[in-house]
Symmetry: C4
Subunit: 237 residues, 4 copies
């Protein structure tokens, strides 16, 4: 039992902040058609997440559109809504050390690229200044690998697969992952950082997708005319 | 005769909800240039639809921009506006069991794809999580066929063609259809569900269109490098 | 002399309506960077146009951002602003019978397509339902030719060229024209109709541009699989 | 020492104007994920810049999200924020004669094109009417060269490279520059002009990028059908 097992004990600020996220992401086209779900950690021991209930319109979330869930993804509150089938993915993400909020979105570019790169089981994004907005990244000269998992309706299995990637010794999953033809999950130490991660990753996915449609040639194929010596050195080092 | 044959008897809430749809869809670029029309079922026996009058600016619909029509598409109210030529298509859609609202939109992607796939008389959309937002769909592992009908100014004939597709025994039209180089019709049990269907279908059309412009190769043509065994199994099953 | 030669005699409603257009078009990206200018006819004999002054920010037009001009494009008011160099193009457009407002915009797609089709001196747009929103068009089965004129800083010459196209006996310019790498001019019987024309033409230009980027194959090259007989007949007639 | 070395002496109008820029650019997608920074010149001798502090959310900048810096990029105020690592680039830009404001943005198209044209160390934009919105440009028949510098975390070195381009005798850097896979810097005599420059350059970058994706053929390759003699003459002169 925790104080938050009663919906009326959930701080209004947390609800307002998630309502704001909903209106913002709906406006940007990342949470249309009642898609997406968002959660914040209310307490960790035992774990309680304040989370959007299943199938709610993110454009204007009402107070009754939220539930509180436990570590097993079960509702501990008894309000009108029901917990999303994807609650377990939020739990897995929220159980990482230092995570305070988890955001799941359905954008156009995440959907397209999660399919385009599905056979690689992920995509690399490297060398962009925007990467510095991700927690722990301090230079643009950095590369992230964004895992793509095949979509599934078997949530315990999908949660287990994500968990395996997170605890991988050699190359642990960081910051975010994509579900094929579905959307993105990311998180942060609080809601503000999680939102920053959504904005940065969506930006980088759009840059990646639009660059593909330009048929951007590989660096090696570009003619070397007019390149100042020092820039050329910098680019090829 | 019904109470709704007098415009003043139409609930203000229904008008406000359609005004809100207009401002929202105008903002998203789905109802520019006085295009589009929206309707809700006021009563079924006899049928009465509250509907946007012909040629009104959807950005800021006024109360006088609505009419009430009957099962023959004829106006039963005598306000300033006149009924849209496309009223019969709303009637055909609204006569389906459980339909409470019909939304017709003119988006960029619906216009483009209704033309691109015209010779197939439709397009298939399959395997997307967003499909679960459509009434009756419970898994992403689903496929919809979005019929495309050739555009026409002969509304009785066009309405008859739509009606035939709806009552087709083998493969009845579901959720929505496109008119070539014109736009989309969709519906729902109420206005909220109909709006959800617009948002989901527009999302999926944009994903389809932008994927085409990436020249997305067919799955069979993708190199099988670096695919984890279990993901590959999942993708090819 | 007319009453409107004094700025204080210009109806506030006309100013407010143009301020609204500015905020709307700025938001849509059609009037960025102080580009664009808008005018309405105050009286016809002698001609007086209320018009945005040169180089004003369209996001939030102030009352002092307007001037009144005569048939020679000369200012008759003595406010802070100065008349745009393009005033003569507004005069030529406004002198057509039944024109009450002229809108000049700088959109992404008008700029791109005015260049892409420059060697054809125009582009054809045909078969779209949206065409019915243009004054005098009653069916989608219609074609418009959108003239493209080479851009110029010699406004009297450019105005003369537009005038020649308008009075052309065989194929007079209708509804709108494009200036190469510059933007679009359109008009209507009042500001509301002129705005509708902007929205419709911008929509059709975006559809045209995005269809080009899909590499839409010519109808003859499409495989004829799965086409219902009646649709095929309709498409090929 | 200057009066502005105390944050409370900074005019509220300057802060409000930068807050407005933040909300506007965030909405347009040019300043997502706490990216971007903006500055205005408070005084020149000694130089003081009011500037957004490092890593602040541009959607809703608070008063405590600003700092005042000197000619060495050092903070002279002692508020909550810390100066951005890129402060020196603002200083270099602001030291040019007649510059009153510097805006650094992270847009999709600036990021893509700064990469696409990196081996040319810049891109040419020519012949667009929108160019006339840049300070000192009076005709569309004009060409700008937008320098691209390789991105770096070594700010003193990067600032030196920008400075060299600005003082270049033969072909000095004007209006703006791009950092590869990073974003754009531009400026103006005041914040209004700097914002105009952002809007115009972003517009031209988007036009350039989308034209590339249309595979716009070179003028010489276009068939010469239907070109009126005078237009053809104008285009080929």
């Amino acid at each position: 039992m925790t104080p938050f097992d009663n919906m009326s004990a959930v701080p209004q600020d947390e609800i307002k902040a998630l309502q704001d996220i909903g209106a913002l992401f709906y406006g940007r086209g990342w949470s249309l058609g009642t898609s997406s779900n968002y959660s914040v950690v209310l307490c960790r021991d035992p774990l309680r997440l304040l989370m959007t209930a299943s199938g709610k319109d993110k454009r204007s979330l009402r107070e009754s559109d939220f539930v509180v869930v436990d570590v097993n993804g079960q509702m501990v509150t008894h309000a009108g809504g029901k917990a999303s089938a994807e609650t377990l993915l939020h739990v897995v993400a929220a159980q990482q050390a230092g995570v305070g909020a988890v955001l799941h979105t359905h954008s156009i570019w995440a959907t397209i690229l999660s399919d385009f790169f599905a056979w690689d089981a992920g995509l690399e994004i490297e060398g962009y200044e925007m990467l510095k907005g991700l927690a722990g990244v301090t230079t643009h000269d950095h590369s992230i690998w964004l895992n793509i998992l095949d979509n599934s309706q078997d949530m315990p299995d999908l949660a287990r697969r994500v968990q395996q990637l997170i605890v991988d010794q050699k190359d642990p999953l960081r910051h975010a992952f994509l579900l094929r033809r579905h959307g993105m999950y990311t998180w942060g130490r609080d809601l503000e950082e999680a939102r920053k991660h959504v904005e940065i990753l969506e930006f980088l996915l759009e840059v990646t997708g639009r660059s593909l449609s330009l048929g951007k040639p590989a660096p090696a194929a570009i003619a070397e005319k007019d390149v100042p010596t020092d820039l050329k050195a910098a680019l090829t080092e």
